[in-house]
Amino acid sequence: MAEPTPLLTTVGLTKHFAVNKSRWGKEIGQVRAVDGISLAVHSGETLGIVGESGCGKTTLGRLILRLIEPTSGQISFAGTNISDMSGVKMRAIRRKIQIIFQDPYSSLNPRMTVHKIVAQGIVTHGLAKGKAVGERVAQLLEMVGLPANAARRYPHEFSGGQRQRIGIARALAVEPEFIVADEPVSALDVSVQAQIVNLLQDIQSEMGLTFMFIAHDLSVVRHISDRVAVMYLGKIVELASKEALYSDPSHPYTRALLSAVPVTNPKKRRERIILTGDIPNPADIPSGCPFHPRCAERQVQCETTVPQLTDIGDGRQVACLLRQPAASSPPAKSPQAKEEQD
């Protein structure tokens, strides 16, 4: 597989939120929302990010847009380090990186017409002037499947699916290269969800866009992504091509997650792995492997050693002490620990 230069890379990207509980604002702890994420997104691909609530997937998306500032780590876009870029320069980059939000109700200003919402970016970045703005808005609305007269109306006049289309038109208005889609279909009904997923795929192939698709719905992520990263408590535990990840999940958490998805076809059911307990509090992450308290395969070493995301071949990366390539780590003692190597 030829390695093209990635459009976006993060190195050790970390965001810790301070927990201030005492009256004097004294910091009593930290929520490690995103904890050392290194990944690369290649031009034209869709990288899916899955994980359960609180795993840090939304924070990761916002860090990439620098809507929140990272605690440490680096973000590069098209070869340029943007993690401490300021002001005017960053504005130019923001035109190239856009976001589509989860909730189509709260992410559109109710007092603005659809025209204003979509045109704002065009005007701010000086992409069109005068009459051309209206023409561009009309063109965008048509592209996302909204009637031309939508421009004069307000968000509340539209259904959830249509509002999500407005959000997509807004993101496309500034001709971005990279779009972070943060749970764009989670708030929608199944029949409408399929319409929006198809629309996203259409605009991707038409405009040659690169997507980071963040969602908790594993089947939607599989459908739209080329590669998928699974997050747990602020870290990536597994990253692989979607075929490899879904047909042969390696990390115990990925296995449990996939087995938990209810499916309609009884012939396609996996044997369910029921995890015990809940996701630990992200302000109090377990020692060693963050997944060890819930892991069925845990060994003594898992309680103390933090597993690193390691390439185990075939472009698959796993953060699990029991899935290390044989050469670089002491062999796992457990007989059921499968050595994955090629």
């Binding site: 699916g161 198809n198 908790h216 594993l218 599989r222 997650l257 499916v263 309609t264």
Partner: protein
């Protein structure tokens, strides 16, 4: 609805031509418009549909918890063991709730009282519906918390809802719902607010409790996967009416209504590559301005003149398989 061959006994719960309308300033929204189904003892019936299809209002109507105004049960019948609920006084209905039928809700955080301990909330329900002392009720609460798999139930009983995780809160809701041994448990989207691994825990819990306690479950959800895996029979609702109902396996293997077919096809599969998802075009019609004829006509690929003139009744197309579609009936 004729009972299927599997259940010879009389149904525990019968809902017959239920109509619940909401009178709003902009018109009458027919949220539930002629819904009929029944539920036999120890059975799990799934009620599936997208938002606004009337599945929750059906559940609230059975509990007689629809707020009036603006909502009103306009007609139909709801019988538990042959007893008509719609004729009961408020006091009589209060005795039915908890003892005969209990309900758990989608959002465990908003349906639990944040300033009362979990144990006290369960005990309160027991005291209200059964003739027991305060300490007996507390013991019952602890026992119920143990039953739903909460570790250290004595300690958890004294904790407040915010101290528990989402999954644990839903367990508390289930403990409360089952505290008076109801014959019927209505679970309205019990796992929608939960993560998929926690959802698997809760669904497993409900199935185990059903085996142990033998209650019937009416499971309301929008998730077809959950329905496929946990119910015996399923009814699909669309815009206030049931469009198809069958044994769950049959419904997924051989859906007959175009809406059910479209719904099943529009979910991406976990292990198959599809280039495009199948869609159902358009959106759900406004419940205040439902068209004459079939409710699904504006989105149906098979629509013709007949569909626009008369609404298709829910009739048996195969043994135990009912469909409300002129095309499927032919």
């Amino acid at each position: 609805m004729p009972p299927s061959e599997t259940a010879g006994s009389t149904p525990l719960l019968e809902v017959d031509d239920l109509r619940t309308y909401f009178h709003t300033r902009t018109g009458v929204a027919k949220a539930v418009d002629g819904v009929s189904f029944d539920l036999t003892a120890a059975e799990t019936l799934g009620l599936v549909g997208e938002s606004g299809c009337g599945k929750s209002v059906t559940a609230l109507s059975i509990m007689r918890l629809v707020s009036d105004p603006p909502g009103k049960i306009e007609g139909g019948a709801i019988r538990i063991n042959g007893r008509e609920l719609l004729d009961l006084s408020d006091d009589e209905m209060c005795a039915v709730r908890g003892n005969d039928v209990a309900m758990i809700f989608q959002e465990p955080m908003t349906s639990l009282n944040p300033v009362i301990t979990c144990g006290r909330q369960i005990a309160e329900a027991v005291e209200l519906h059964q003739d027991v002392s305060r300490s007996e009720a507390h013991n019952r609460a602890v026992e119920m918390l143990r039953l739903v798999g909460i570790a250290a139930p004595e300690q958890r009983a004294n904790e407040y809802p915010h101290q528990l995780s989402g999954g644990m809160r839903q367990r508390v809701m289930i403990a409360m719902g089952l505290s008076c041994n109801p014959q019927i448990l209505i679970a309205d989207e019990p796992t929608t607010a939960l993560d998929v691994t926690v959802q698997a825990q809760i669904m497993e819990l409900l199935q185990r409790l059903q085996e142990e306690l033998g209650m019937a479950i009416l499971l309301i959800t929008h998730d077809l996967g959950v329905v496929a895996e946990t119910t015996d029979r399923a009814a699909v609702m669309y815009a206030g009416g049931i469009v198809e109902s069958a044994a769950t396996e049959m419904l997924f293997a051989n859906p007959r209504h175009p809406y059910t077919q479209g719904l099943i096809r529009s979910i991406p599969e976990l292990d198959t590559d599809q280039t495009r998802l199948d869609i159902i075009p358009g959106t759900v019609p406004d419940l205040r301005r439902l068209p004459v004829g079939c409710r699904f006509q504006s989105r149906c690929p098979l629509v013709d003149e007949h569909c626009r003139e008369a609404a298709p009744p829910l009739v048996e197309t195969d043994e135990g398989h009912q469909t409300a579609c002129w095309k499927a009936n032919g």
